[in-house]
């Protein structure tokens, strides 16, 4: 039933592309089955390669084909050839980056004998297709999810109500905070063709930093909530990331299921921190560059990843030389510093062209003398208020969780907060803006 619902869910977007899901499912199911019994190392490797080729091949064809072709054309033409590439105008299958990574984790874990084979094909198919997290994560490992499908699940009443509460929070984050309060300001600033005033550039970037968090964390919270209403437990994907002190901490809190995926299947196989500092820093940079590219087929995403990689390398270098005891007083300062530096990376993530990013960065550094003000005072006050609350909330909650906080609260407080969120969602209405991460 759940599997059928998941296919219908995906088909409501684009029915023919369900075929990709089926191919990915069948290939990885067969590969996993063979890896479970095959002892010949060479044959095991071949099955793993087959799975990787199919999944990465889908990604390369649907997501990176035009990007690779554009770059190839640019390189060829730089040597004086008048090559004209024929754009294929291929539709990007929704959630392809998420479900391919999820299925690959299964075959890699099977190859490394870190997980058991799924008991039935239907259990495995549901693992690939489970609708709450199919299109934008969390990216779940096989051992975390498939085992939950083996027995018939029914949510307890408390699980159901808590799931409903999480669904409300997720929608509140998306509809009210991201789309109603922040998106217009971010769009106005990043869509402007003018050289912007520093305050406007900062407001737009801060608005986007809030928008991307509320949008993506909102989706993840909805997914976790809906799954819980069905009795299925999904892992956390965000843990108050803007309260992070430093970038290692940030990546333990932001898009956790992707960062752990990249750590386990890319950073560690590249050598991790076991083979000296040069290799460690190289592995770190490669991981972050590919992590950037995972988000989108554009050089701006690569620069976003490179900046994060650079931050991580610098942080590790500093940690070996400077030892700071974190206190609440220097902690909030370091968290704020981390957050401000993160904002510079968001410029490359949001800007569609380098010229826009360059102009934004110079405005944020107050290097433009003749600049234009485009925002109204109220927009600036609104964004700074929301972002200040967001930062403080993340800072004070950084060692806690929503569940813990709720357990400490009275039923009345929780009920009133819940009603306020629902009321604001209802009067915001939204205009059907899709989640930003659907495009990745």
């Amino acid at each position: 039933m759940l599997l059928f619902a998941s296919y219908v869910f995906y088909g409501l977007w684009n029915p023919p592309l369900v075929i990709l899901l089926w191919i990915s499912t069948i290939v990885d199911w067969v590969a996993g089955k063979k890896l479970a019994v095959e002892e010949n190392q060479r044959k095991r490797k071949m099955w793993l390669i087959l799975s990787m080729v199919v999944n990465l091949g889908f990604l390369a064809f649907f997501k990176y084909r035009d990007f690779m072709l554009d770059n190839f054309t640019a390189v060829v033409n730089s040597y004086g050839y008048g090559y004209q590439a024929q754009p294929m105008d291929i539709i990007l299958p929704m959630g392809i980056s998420f479900y391919t990574f999820q299925t690959m984790s299964y075959t890699i874990d099977m190859y490394l004998k870190r997980t058991e084979r799924a008991r039935t094909f239907l259990d495995f198919a549901l693992y690939v297709t489970f609708f709450p997290q199919l299109v934008a994560g969390p990216i779940v490992r096989a051992q975390e999810l498939i085992t939950q499908f083996y027995e018939e699940k029914r949510a307890t009443i408390n699980q159901f109500i808590w799931g409903l509460f999480l669904l409300t929070i997720g929608l509140f984050m998306k509809v009210v905070l991201a789309d109603t309060l922040l998106s217009d300001t971010a769009d106005a600033v990043f869509g402007s063709t003018s050289i912007l005033n520093g305050l406007d550039a900062w407001t737009g970037t801060l608005a986007f930093s809030g928008q991307i968090f509320f949008d993506f964390a909102g989706y993840s919270t909805c997914a976790i909530g809906i799954a819980l209403m069905l009795g299925i437990i999904l892992p956390d994907n965000f843990r108050y990331p803007y309260g992070a002190i430093g970038f290692s901490d940030l990546w333990r809190r932001w898009h956790i299921t992707l960062s752990t995926w990249l750590r386990d299947y890319l950073y560690i196989p590249l050598g991790g921190n076991k083979h000296g500092v040069v290799r460690m820093y190289s592995a770190l940079m490669i991981t972050m560059l590919l992590g950037g590219l995972w988000h989108g087929a554009a050089w701006t995403f690569v620069v976003w990843g490179a900046l994060h990689g650079t931050y991580l390398v610098i942080e590790r270098m500093l940690k070996t030389r400077i030892h700071i005891k974190i206190t609440p007083f220097n902690g909030i300062f370091l968290a704020l510093l981390t957050y401000l530096l993160v904002n510079f990376t968001w410029v490359f993530f949001r800007a569609r062209e380098f010229s826009v990013a360059k102009s934004m960065i110079s405005s944020m550094l107050f290097l433009n003398n003749e600049s234009e003000k485009i925002l109204y005072s109220f927009d600036i006050i609104k964004v700074f208020s929301v972002i200040t609350l967001l930062f403080l909330c993340h800072w004070f909650m950084r060692n806690s969780s929503l569940k813990e906080l709720s357990l400490k609260s009275s039923s009345w407080v929780l009920g009133i907060v819940w009603a306020c969120m629902f009321f604001l969602i209802a009067i915001s209405q939204g205009n059907g803006e899709q989640f930003i991460y659907f495009q990745f």
Binding site: L12, I161, S377, A419, I427, N431
Partner: protein
């Protein structure tokens, strides 16, 4: 903490607050109304694929949307037209879509609002991008979007507070619009767009009469006039007569060659707006050459005694009673000319 208790409290408070919110906005004069958005348009556009020779399509900008009333047209002809006109838009992309992406061979009425019809063929310009985005949406809409639209219709029809609009009217009452209405310092120094309130109601099949308030409340109508003035005075782009005419004529020829019946209509305008149109987009320089080049039947409202004295409350569109009258009379004229070949006869 008891989750069940929290849920009951949340449901109770949510219902109370939403009922209070609904009652408050109704007391302020809001009534449930549909949004004339891309979904509503796409549903009508989808009907064209099954349309027959008898069917009539209405293309154009807001004047066709306001001035041609579907009930009156149906009463006179027995055929309910498919309303595809889009406010603030050039009809050229819409006509191009029908000619190239369908095999429709019935009647197409194209409204010619000179400032929009002859504005541009540049794809990124507002009057082109706006209708083209609807065409693109129709072609690419997903089943999920269609389902979302059908689910939203009962809410839009029954709740006044569900009022977000694609147009972004100043009197929308969704949270984003309410926040936008808070007065604040304009740091840009650029002229501010005057408040632009919704001034019509639209049905599910996009029959769109002007609201009574616009026709009777002069101050309210003056607000709309101020918006027209702002749009026109801030438009720096001269009309592109040759490009627009040539583009349309090419499509018109193709449509007529396959047996389609093309009719051009110039709807009324009033006051300084009409004077401006006469001066800068005159009939002799724009309308007449277009009619000649397309060789289509054409109706200019000023040519008819029964239509020429109609007044538009906000200068550009007819009040609901006048629009009903205009439609009835226009159809009678067309029938007398025999251009609506498939309509019922009296």
């Amino acid at each position: 903490m008891q989750l069940k208790k929290s849920l009951i409290i949340a449901i109770t408070l949510s219902v109370i607050s939403l009922v209070a919110w609904e009652l408050y906005w109704r007391s302020e004069g809001k009534i449930p109304d549909l949004d004339d958005d891309k979904n509503l348009w796409a549903v009508q556009r989808a009907r064209v694929d099954d349309a027959s020779l008898n069917d009539v399509l209405l293309l154009g900008s807001s004047r066709v949307l306001f001035d041609i009333q579907l009930n009156e047209w149906e009463k006179e002809t027995g055929v309910r037209p498919i309303q595809l006109a889009c406010a603030g838009s050039s009809p050229l992309p819409l006509f191009h879509d029908i000619v190239h992406n369908t095999d429709f061979k019935g009647t197409i009425i194209v409204g010619v609002t000179p400032g929009l019809f002859f504005s541009t063929t540049y794809p990124e310009a507002g009057p082109w991008k706006r209708p083209q985005s609807r065409v693109d949406y129709f072609e690419n809409r997903t089943y999920a979007q269609q389902l979302n639209h059908w689910l939203s219709l009962p809410l839009q029809k029954n709740l006044a507070f569900v009022s977000t609009s694609e147009e972004g009217f100043s009197d929308d009452i969704d949270l984003k619009s309410l926040l936008s209405s808070i007065s604040s310092t304009n740091r840009s120094g650029k002229p501010e767009y005057p408040p632009f309130n919704s001034f019509a109601y639209i049905d599910e099949d996009r029959n769109n009469p002007m609201s009574e308030k616009t026709a009777t409340d002069t101050a309210f109508a003056n607000g709309i006039k101020a918006a027209w003035k702002f749009i026109i005075m801030n438009n720096q782009n001269p009309p592109d007569k040759d490009a627009t005419t040539n583009f349309f004529v090419a499509d018109a020829e193709k449509f007529q060659e396959r047996g389609g019946n093309l009719i051009l209509v110039r709807c009324p305008s009033s006051g300084w707006l009409k004077e401006g149109e006469d001066k800068f987009l005159s009939r002799t320089e724009f309308w007449d050459p277009l009619v000649k080049a397309t060789n289509a039947k054409a109706y200019y409202y000023e040519d008819y005694e029964q239509l020429k004295h109609l007044e538009c409350p906000e200068l550009s569109h007819l009040s609901a009673p006048d629009a009903r009258y205009f439609t009835t009379e226009l159809v009678k004229i067309m029938k007398a000319d025999g251009v609506l070949s498939n309509s019922k006869t009296n």
